[in-house]
């Protein structure tokens, strides 16, 4: 009985020493892990916008950092997921530094295909949910999470249609000038064509026109779009109706209806 008790005492002491040793070295190791987050960059790409966040982790502790997982989920104000990106670093061994970059690519065509016209016309805020997980010493899983609000600048913010004026173009056609204005709040330049079709109150297309537009980021656009209609439709245009507006840029195509008159 005494031998068994002595052995249990020895085992208890050894286990306490192991627990204390691991706890102390783990805390020391965590305090010696250096995390450097670089400057976040927002860049235009061929199909949208790219957010890039470079970071480096310097593991000066005693234990390996494994299964580092950085996940970001971008949602619109309605909670619809626009992007889900994951960056994985399998292992950061003791005494090593790992450089990585977390890149979120927002495809404007994807946004449009999800019927997010309001995002093209109105500024908004995206919610970016950031999850980070790692396995410390392959024994202690750690999870971090936070929510960040990301402002979204609409490419056609404050879009407005002014008062239409009709004048004679030639003997067979009339010219209708419709002033339009918007502010490009996006970080990308808007370069493409603007096609406009005027429909009468009886839903009949009565005039159309096309113009090239080139609006730099954070610049305003204000110009008159010239539509041409047959002379007999002059009264139909002047009576008002609705406009079918179609923007075609190298990044995306968007169309919507606006009342006029």
């Amino acid at each position: 009985m005494k031998i068994a008790t002595s052995m249990l005492t020895v085992a208890t002491i050894i286990l306490w020493v192991v627990i204390l040793f691991f706890s102390v070295t783990a805390v020391y190791s965590v305090m010696n892990v250096g995390v450097n987050i670089g400057e976040a960059k927002m860049l235009p790409t061929s199909n949208g916008i790219k957010f890039s966040l470079p970071f480096s982790i310097n593991n000066n502790g005693y234990y390996e950092i494994a299964d580092l997982n950085l996940t970001t989920r971008v949602t619109d104000p309605d909670g619809q997921v626009l992007d889900l990106t994951e960056t994985l670093v399998n292992s950061i061994p003791q005494g090593e530094t790992v450089n990585a970059s977390h890149t979120i690519e927002v495809d404007l065509d994807d946004i449009l295909s999800m019927n997010h016209l309001t995002l093209m016309l109105n500024d908004s805020n995206f919610t970016v949910k950031i999850f980070a997980g790692l396995n410390f010493a392959r024994a202690v899983p750690v999870q971090l999470s936070t929510n960040v609000s990301l402002p979204w600048g609409a490419p056609f913010a404050d879009f407005s249609v002014g008062t239409l004026s009709v004048s004679q173009h030639n003997s067979s056609h009339v010219e209708a000038a419709i002033p339009i204005s918007f502010e490009n709040h996006a970080i990308i330049d808007i370069t493409g064509t603007l096609k406009m079709e005027a429909y009468s109150n009886s839903d009949r297309r009565v005039a159309s026109g096309v113009t090239d537009i080139n609006v730099a980021s954070n610049q305003n656009f204000g110009d008159s779009i010239h539509l041409y209609a047959r002379a007999q439709d002059a009264s139909n245009i002047a009576d008002g109706g609705k406009l079918h507006i179609l923007f075609e840029t190298y990044l995306f195509t968007v169309d919507w209806w606006e009342p006029y008159g």
Binding site: T5, L8, T12, I19, F22, S23, P141, L144, T146, V148
Partner: protein
């Protein structure tokens, strides 16, 4: 009778009280004073999942109480009972303190809030294991004392 009590006090109670006092002081040093001395002074309370000073003090009170009680009733069934109680109280204390092994912490950083969760289940299981060994050891000790008493032959 009075002489007998004096001898008992001088030979049994006084050494045990002294041992209890020394063990209590040593436990206080190891469990409370030393960790506080090792922890950095500028450690902000906001980054800790709990008020570590008061929690450490609570743990020190538990440890000192059982260290003193263990010495006062050393080599008795009651002493082993205190040993078992100590193990169970420590397990319960760590289970409650660590929220079942999941430490959660909310750190406000400028405009946003950082939620941190640390899964210390493995460390908790090690603490439970070591305390279960302590329970087994004290049970064997108590059984040993009871067995010796039951097989003693009183010739007086």
């Amino acid at each position: 009778m009075v002489e007998l009590n004096s001898n008992f006090i001088m030979n049994t109670v006084f050494p045990r009280v002294m041992k209890g006092a020394i063990m209590g002081a040593l436990t206080y040093m190891v469990v409370y004073y030393l960790p506080l001395a090792l922890l950095p002074d500028n450690l902000p309370l906001s980054v800790m999942p709990f008020d570590y000073r008061s929690q450490l003090f609570q743990f020190a009170v538990i440890s000192v109480f059982f260290a003193v009680a263990g010495q006062l009733f050393a080599k008795t069934v009651i002493g082993h009972g205190f040993g078992i109680a100590k193990a169970i109280v420590i397990v319960a204390y760590f289970l409650v303190l660590s929220n079942g092994g999941m430490l959660s912490l909310t750190v406000p950083i400028e405009d946003f809030t950082l939620n941190l969760t640390v899964d210390i289940t493995i460390i908790l299981l090690m603490i439970i294991a070591v305390n279960m060994l302590s329970v087994a050891k004290n049970l064997l000790g108590a059984i040993g004392i009871l067995t010796e008493k039951s097989t003693d032959i009183d010739f007086h």
